[in-house]
Symmetry: C2
Subunit: 114 residues, 2 copies
């Protein structure tokens, strides 16, 4: 029984690591929270909304695309625009995103109360 | 209405950032997932469970303690042992942790299916 409990524990905290391996880092969850909750955004809109530099944002979006968490669409406009959307797979992160939003809001409130 | 929607959006993704500001990085959520779900652990137990080096673990635990997410207790044993526990405040991260565990397990399953 003890061994089982340990295995359960191992599995659980390594599952946290598996999630962080894909969406960890400073910006990915923030970008996904926008695309999952508010739908398709153009590159320029994401720069404005997030405040992330174009160079870093481009790198982060590329990594998210490689992991099939977002899709990228080049639009034949003048000038050409690039749109990013959440995929069905990143939408499965909805619970993680919502829990983070809830906790972050509450945390900010607590800090302000001090 | 549009303005309101934008504000809501801003607030939500910055709330994600507020959460990551406190518990972001490679190890903090993993450490908290152990302490929140499985209760008090000694330093040595945390080294074994997480596989984090003693030096890094010590730094991470110190930061978590400063943010009142864990409490530290020095036990008068021979040799002296140090115990770490989740605080009520870190237990409020339960939803984030559980959502990450669920997603991570599912992600691993998907990867293995490939």
């Amino acid at each position: 029984m003890v061994k089982h409990a340990k295995t359960e524990c191992d599995d659980a905290h390594f599952a946290v690591q598996d999630t962080l391996y894909v969406v960890g880092g400073k910006w990915k969850m923030m970008i996904l929270s926008i695309l999952v909750r508010f739908g398709t955004k153009r590159f320029g809109e994401l720069v404005k909304l997030t405040g992330i530099s174009a160079r870093i944002l481009s790198k982060e979006l590329n990594e998210l695309e490689q992991n099939k968490l977002i899709s990228r669409k080049v639009c034949n406009t003048k000038p050409i625009t690039v749109e990013y959307s959440a995929t069905a797979y990143s939408k499965s992160l909805g619970d993680v995103i919502n829990a983070m939003i809830k906790w972050g809001r509450n945390h900010k409130k607590k800090i302000r109360e001090k």
